[in-house]
Assembly symmetry: C2
Amino acid sequence: MYTRPSPLGKSLDSFSRFLAAFRRFILKDDMARLVLKFGGTSVGDLERIKAVAVRVKAEVEAGNEIAVVVSAMSGVTNRLVGYVEEISPLYDAREYDVVVSSGEQVTSGLLALALQELGIKARSWQGWQIPVHTDSAHAKARIISIEGGDLIDSMKLGEVVIVPGFQGVAPDGRVSTLGRGGSDTSAVGLAAALEADRCDIYTDVEGIYTADPRIVARAHKLDKVTYEEMLEMASVGAKVLQTRAVEMAMKHAVRLQVLSSFTNKPGTLVVDEDEVVEHELVSGIAYSRDEAKITLVKVADRPGVAARIFGPLADASVNVDMIVQNVSDDGKATDLTFTVTRSDLERAVDILKKNKDDLGYQDLASDSDVVKVSVIGVGMRSHAGVAQRMFKSLADEGINIQVISTSEIKVSVLIAEEYTERAVRALHTVYGLDAK
Amino acid sequence: MYTRPSPLGKSLDSFSRFLAAFRRFILKDDMARLVLKFGGTSVGDLERIKAVAVRVKAEVEAGNEIAVVVSAMSGVTNRLVGYVEEISPLYDAREYDVVVSSGEQVTSGLLALALQELGIKARSWQGWQIPVHTDSAHAKARIISIEGGDLIDSMKLGEVVIVPGFQGVAPDGRVSTLGRGGSDTSAVGLAAALEADRCDIYTDVEGIYTADPRIVARAHKLDKVTYEEMLEMASVGAKVLQTRAVEMAMKHAVRLQVLSSFTNKPGTLVVDEDEVVEHELVSGIAYSRDEAKITLVKVADRPGVAARIFGPLADASVNVDMIVQNVSDDGKATDLTFTVTRSDLERAVDILKKNKDDLGYQDLASDSDVVKVSVIGVGMRSHAGVAQRMFKSLADEGINIQVISTSEIKVSVLIAEEYTERAVRALHTVYGLDAK
């Protein structure tokens, strides 16, 4: 039972519902259906949850239909995961999901209560109630479909629907979770299911910047980036949005906004390329320190050797990123250089050393004091010379390029880690990104 | 997925299943289906949960089919209730249930993992998965029915089924909770649904005693008590079992055992009267300090006055227990004495004073330094003189009896609190309960 509505509250409520309907159907007003997602720091404690309620209330009073996706309160998921791992290091993922999904459940109920306390109708919906159908890969499940019907009915009754992120229900009817950070994916999936006008991801940064503001003082917030750019940024370490969430948004054409729950400023829109009228050549400069380089010296240069090298690494779930094979002098042996994440370096080297006889290389060198710096922008599709300008700029700074890789909208180089700041700042200036 | 079973484990497992089936169907062995319930202190932390798993494993290896009901870990429910009350003092009970039920959910998953870690197959089942159907009185719901089919199938596959206590699902499909202490009721309800041979309630005492061992050094643990006796004991303050749980056990003829999770001794069986071959005259001496006495002096002695006095108290949810009306000397006025719980005393006195003119009494006296002492035993049904012996014994001790009330299997007296220990000890001796 709702404990609150006084007779006056009820009639005010009817009136505001009438008003919203009038705006939507008669005035064709820009009332919208929005999904708002609040991460762990945004719902960190009871005070923050109350603050989120105030923000949601403002969106409701602007006449919008609102669905909210929430994470667990700060530290809760870590505590629950710690319990599981202490009891059973090689845990049954289905029971892990039962334990760990409870954190989001708690936040969803508390936010519903906080909204009711502000006079806003609200109701929590657990993953199994909606339902959010996932596959059976417990602890790292993927969303298969979300049935939005009950939620839409609830919103049409003027209720804010509150959905715990990160959780769903597997084909066997048991609770599933999407893996750490899965709440972004929950929000995007829900926005697609509800045909929402926008999915706002509230976080602790104000949006997507042209570069890391801690390194580049003149970095500025972007109004818009494309899905493709966002994906490239995520792949080089800008961990604002989960990659899977961006991919899903792109697939279902869900307009995303990344913004801060601690300020009242508009954030960055992540949208389809068509929505960006004029493309800058380069949208941003990103970097990733989570890189390590391995060089195999004098590998036999014959068919099948690459497969024999990278096969065992893939089997051990070592992700290989940039790969460069030098042209061999004599057609018999070649040097092969590639990068892995730093945490995988030791394991990768072990595997390669164990297989040394089979692979037939002469020597192995590794280096973890490297960084990957990337320039990203959909504009470079239609412009030549972007990479050339990058290489020249780095050369002017006296920075040696160790490995190069490119995609349609990105050029990445591996350089010595000590030059990170100098490289990022130089490129930010060269591509005209410095704030005026 | 179960992460463990090695090929050897699997064949051992098949063998032990075969053995259990052989025992049950061929040997007609005394293999049993048991429900084990572990309260908050029994699952207080991770170490305690692991200890519970060891205990459950022993029951499994004895060839029994096991369902386990668990409470939340110590302090968790209080913390969650605190969150709810801080955010919304007059909370929506449906959201309260979403938040508060998560505590038992976590324990159920962790115990399943702890059992798996010991090589025992185990699976948690949430209230909505079973389902445990309750009415719609969120936060204080009553169980309507429990569908035991899936759980029985699971147990037949050799799995321990683990059920979070206290929670169910309401007719609207939302999570419900049974109110504080409801896990006992969950366990008994489950035992009825599964047609279990016994429901073991593990707690922090070793069973039901003839009297409070802190007062009577020679008190001894009872092997058996009847449902009726248990109910009377609960009503006079022996808070070992929830009253609703005992009522439900009686209704469905579920054999209960109360025992300690901290020792390895048999506890006390709570059973139907037929199972107790020889009844002691008196099974135990109980007392309750949570009593206060109110006397209305010179109330008009005319029809309807009792209703006018007790009506407003009932409206204010003040529970009135013992009532004595003195014979009036002249047929015009009478003294009325009754008891309420101490926490209700102030409120009761306020109400009576406000209505003084209407009730027409001359004076009001109240006293909270009183205690209710009871002798309880189904044997007294067929024996006269039990009450008389009690009154004489207290008189010999120089203890004045202020109020008397009786039921078929209980005699209670209200005396000054300072005599509690003396009265309980004297009665324990008089009725032959002192341990040899």
